[in-house]
C-alpha cells in the first residue's frame, strides 16, 4: 500500500470536499425550509469568487497589497460573504418569493433561469478570460510536510476555514433564537407563522447564510486552485447538489458529510481507478444514483412522513 499516495489523495479530497460541503449546506438549508432546489446556488459561489478577486485588486493586488496579506485575505472573505449574502436575499425576494404558492415546478424553473442569468451576466460584465488569484504572491504557498504528507497553505486555510464556518452555522441553528425559528419554519411553515414567527424574514436569513457560505467557498476555490471563470459554478453546483442529496437533502450534518464524501470519492477515483481523472464525474454521479436507489433520503436524511 502506497501510504504517501493515500495521504496525498486524502488531503486533496478533504480540501475539495470542504468546498462541496459549504455549497451543499446552502442547498440543504434552502431545501429544508422551502423544499426548493436552488440551482442558482452554484453561480452564487462563482459570483463570490469574483467578488473576492475584485476585493483583492481593490486593495492593491496580490503583489503589493495596501495592507497585510492576511488582512487582505480576511477582507476578501468578508466582501464575498457579505456580497453573496445580499445577492441570495435579492434572488429569493424577486425570483422565488412570488412563486411560493405556485406549483413546485415554477420556482425550480425560476432557479434555472437565475442560474443562466448569473452566468451570462458574469460573462458580460467580467469577460470570458480566466482571472488569477495569484495565491503564490498573496499569501505565499509554503508547502509543509509531515512525513510523506504535503500540505500547502491554501489547503490548510480551506479545510480549517470550512470547519470553522460549519461549526458557526451549527451553533447559530442550534443555539440562537433565529436558529430556532429556522428549525420551526422548516418543520412546518404554516404553524411557525401562526406562532408569530416572521417566516419571510427567516427565509431571507436562510438565503443570506447559505449564499454567504457559497461566497466563502468561491474565495477558497480561487486561493487553492488559482483561477476563476464565469462557468465554474455549473459543475461545482452540480457536485454540491450531489453532496447534499448523498448526505440527506435538508440535513445540515448530512450536507457536511456528503460534501466530504464527494470530495474524497473524486480524489480516490482519480488516484486508484482506471482513467480516474478523466471519468471522476462518472464515478461521482454513479454513486449518487446508487445512494438514491438504496437510501432515497440520503445517508443522514430522514424519510418524509406523508400525512394521510
Amino acid at each position: 500500500m502506497n501510504w504517501s499516495l493515500f495521504f496525498d489523495l486524502t488531503v486533496s479530497g478533504l480540501t475539495l470536499g470542504s468546498l462541496y460541503a459549504l455549497i451543499a449546506l446552502g442547498y440543504s438549508m434552502v431545501y429544508g425550509i422551502l423544499k426548493l432546489l436552488n440551482f442558482a446556488h452554484g453561480d452564487v459561489y462563482m459570483i463570490g469568487a469574483f467578488m473576492g478577486w475584485f476585493a483583492l485588486h481593490g486593495l492593491g493586488g496580490p503583489i503589493s497589497p495596501d495592507v497585510g496579506a492576511w488582512i487582505v485575505t480576511a477582507l476578501m472573505f468578508l466582501a464575498a460573504m457579505a456580497g453573496c449574502g445580499v445577492l441570495g436575499v435579492v434572488i429569493e425576494r424577486f425570483a422565488y418569493r412570488p412563486l411560493r404558492d405556485a406549483p413546485r415546478i415554477a420556482p425550480l424553473i425560476s432557479a434555472l433561469g437565475v442560474s443562466f442569468f448569473l452566468q451570462n451576466s458574469a460573462l458580460l460584465l467580467f469577460g470570458a478570460a480566466f482571472r488569477d488569484y495569484d495565491s503564490f504572491d498573496l499569501i505565499g504557498v509554503r508547502t509543509r510536510h509531515v512525513g510523506n504528507v504535503y500540505l500547502a497553505t491554501p489547503q490548510i486555510l480551506t479545510v480549517i476555514g470550512a470547519i470553522v464556518l460549519m461549526i458557526a452555522l451549527t451553533l447559530v441553528v442550534a443555539r440562537t433564537t433565529v436558529g430556532k425559528a429556522m428549525r420551526a419554519t422548516s418543520f412546518d411553515r404554516e404553524a411557525a407563522a401562526m406562532m408569530g414567527i416572521d417566516v419571510d424574514r427567516v427565509i431571507s436569513f436562510t438565503f443570506f447564510i447559505g449564499s454567504a457560505l457559497a461566497g466563502a467557498a468561491g474565495v477558497m476555490f480561487g486561493l487553492v486552485f488559482g483561477q476563476i471563470y464565469h462557468y465554474m459554478g455549473f459543475i461545482a453546483g452540480l457536485k454540491g447538489f450531489t453532496a447534499a442529496v448523498i448526505g440527506g437533502i435538508g440535513s445540515i450534518p448530512g450536507a457536511m458529510l456528503g460534501g466530504l464524501a464527494v470530495g474524497l470519492l473524486e480524489s480516490y477515483a482519480t488516484g486508484y481507478l482506471p482513467q480516474g481523472s478523466t471519468f471522476q464525474n462518472l464515478y461521482v454521479f454513479a454513486v449518487l444514483i446508487a445512494v438514491i436507489l438504496v437510501r432515497p433520503s440520503g445517508l443522514l436524511g430522514r424519510a418524509a412522513i406523508q400525512k394521510v
Partner: protein
C-alpha cells in the same frame, strides 16, 4: 413479399444517400463557383478564440492578422477587411461557437477566404460548414496530423505551421537526446490536438526505451491535486500538450504546492502563452519564427516590444489568403473556388517563419520543424 419490401427500402435509402451526397458536393461546388464583384474592399474571414479560456493566444492571432491587413492597406489601393468570428476555444459550449462563426462566414457572400480556426478540434468541427460554402481556410495553429492526412478537407484546409508529426519528433528527440530522461508522465486534455500529439510522443518515447505513464484530464477541470498525487516523485518530466494555458499554469502551481517542484514540466505549442511562460523553467515546443525578420521587428516596434510569437503564423496565413484573393480578383471578379486554387498554388519565397511557404497536396506547409524553448525570467528562449 417481405424480402421485396426490404430490398425496395434498401434501394430507396441508397438512392437517397447518393442523392444527398451528390447534392452536398454539388451545393459546395455551386457555392464555391459563384462569382462576386471584388470591389475595392475585400473581406477575409478570421476565426479565433477572441474570448474564452484560450483568449490569451487567440488575441495574439487577431493582432497579427490585423497587422497584415494594416500593412497591406497602407501599401495598396485595394483594401482588406477582417470579418472576425469568436470561437471561444475551450469554452463550455465546445465547438458550438466555432460552428456558429463558420456558418456566419459561409453566409457572408463577401468573404472569399478564411484565416483559422485555431484549434484542431475546431477545424474538424467546422470543415463541413466551410466546405459547404466553398471556402478555403488557412490555420496558423491547428497542428493535429490527421487534419491533412484523412482526406476529408483536401483542397480546402491549409496551415502555416508544421503538423504534430513534426512536433512529436522534436519533442521526443529533445527528451531522449538532450534531457536524457527515462521516466516521463504524459497527460492529455481529451481534445483531438492533445490526444493526437500525446499518442505520437508516447509511441516515440517508448520506442526509445523511456518509461511512460499516460493519463488524461478534462478541459473543464481545475483541481489537479489528486492527479498530481498519482505522479511518482521519481518522475523526471510531466508532458502536458494542452490547449489552455491558464489550466497549464494552474497545474504547474499545484505541482509546486504538492512538493513536486523538482519534476520538470513541458508543454506544446498551444501553451506558448504568457500564463505558461510565467512558470519558471518550463519547456515548450513551438513553431518556427525568425526573430530577426523585418516584419517581426516592425510588429514589435508597434506593439510595445512584444513579439506575441504565437500569432505570427496567423500573419502568414492572412498573407496567403490575401495574396490568393488578389490573384483571383485580377479581373475584378472572383469566386471562392478560384481563391482556394490560388491558396493551393501559394509560393512565398520569404516569410517571417524563416522559410519559404508552399503547400503539399494535403495542405501542409513544406519544410519547417518545431523548436524547443525554456522559460527564463518569465520569457521563452529557444534552447534547441
Amino acid at each position: 413479399m417481405k424480402k421485396s419490401l426490404f430490398a425496395l427500402l434498401v434501394a430507396v435509402l441508397a438512392f437517397a444517400a447518393a442523392g444527398t451526397g451528390g447534392a452536398s458536393t454539388r451545393s459546395s461546388q455551386a457555392a464555391g463557383a459563384a462569382l462576386i464583384n471584388c470591389g475595392k474592399t475585400r473581406s477575409i474571414g478570421l476565426m479565433a478564440p477572441i474570448t474564452g479560456p484560450a483568449a490569451s493566444i487567440g488575441t495574439l492571432q487577431v493582432k497579427w492578422a490585423q497587422f497584415y491587413v494594416t500593412r497591406y492597406n497602407r501599401a495598396h489601393r485595394t483594401k482588406f477587411k477582417l470579418v472576425k468570428e469568436d470561437t471561444q476555444l475551450g469554452g463550455p459550449n465546445g465547438n458550438a461557437e466555432a460552428l456558429k462563426g463558420a456558418q456566419a462566414l459561409k453566409g457572408n457572400g463577401k468573404v472569399l477566404g478564411v484565416v483559422g480556426p485555431a484549434g484542431s478540434n475546431e477545424v474538424k468541427g467546422v470543415t463541413s460548414t466551410l466546405k459547404g460554402g466553398g471556402l478555403g481556410f488557412v490555420s496558423g495553429s491547428a497542428t493535429n496530423t490527421t487534419l491533412t492526412t484523412d482526406g476529408t478537407r483536401t483542397g480546402y484546409f491549409f496551415r502555416t505551421v508544421p503538423p504534430d508529426a513534426q512536433q512529436s519528433k522534436s519533442v521526443s528527440r529533445f527528451i531522449v537526446s538532450n534531457l536524457k530522461y527515462k521516466k516521463v508522465y504524459i497527460i492529455d486534455d481529451q481534445e483531438a490536438y492533445s490526444t493526437g500529439l500525446s499518442d505520437e510522443v508516447e509511441a516515440q518515447l517508448k520506442a526509445a526505451g523511456v518509461t511512460t505513464t499516460r493519463d488524461g484530464v478534462s478541459q473543464q477541470q481545475s483541481d489537479f491535486s489528486a492527479l498530481i498525487a498519482k505522479i511518482p516523485r521519481d518522475t523526471q518530466l510531466v508532458y502536458i500538450p494542452w490547449q489552455l494555458a491558464p489550466k497549464a499554469q494552474a497545474f504547474g502551481q499545484q505541482l509546486r504546492q504538492a512538493g513536486k517542484a523538482s519534476i520538470k514540466l513541458m508543454g506544446s505549442d498551444g501553451l506558448f502563452a504568457p500564463e505558461f511562460e510565467s512558470l519558471s523553467g518550463v519547456y515548450d515546443s513551438f513553431f518556427p519564427v525568425q526573430p530577426t525578420d523585418a516584419t517581426i521587428k516592425a510588429y514589435m516596434a508597434s506593439h510595445g516590444g512584444n513579439g506575441d510569437f504565437f500569432g505570427a503564423p496567423s500573419y502568414v496565413a492572412a498573407q496567403v489568403v490575401g495574396r490568393a484573393i488578389d490573384k483571383a480578383c485580377k479581373d475584378g471578379r472572383a469566386s471562392r473556388a478560384e481563391v482556394r486554387r490560388w491558396i493551393a498554388k501559394t509560393k512565398l519565397k520569404k516569410t517571417l517563419l524563416g522559410l519559404p511557404v508552399s503547400f503539399t497536396k494535403g495542405g501542409d506547409i513544406k519544410g519547417g520543424v518545431f523548436g524547443i524553448y525554456q522559460s527564463k525570467n518569465g520569457k521563452f528562449a529557444r534552447i534547441a
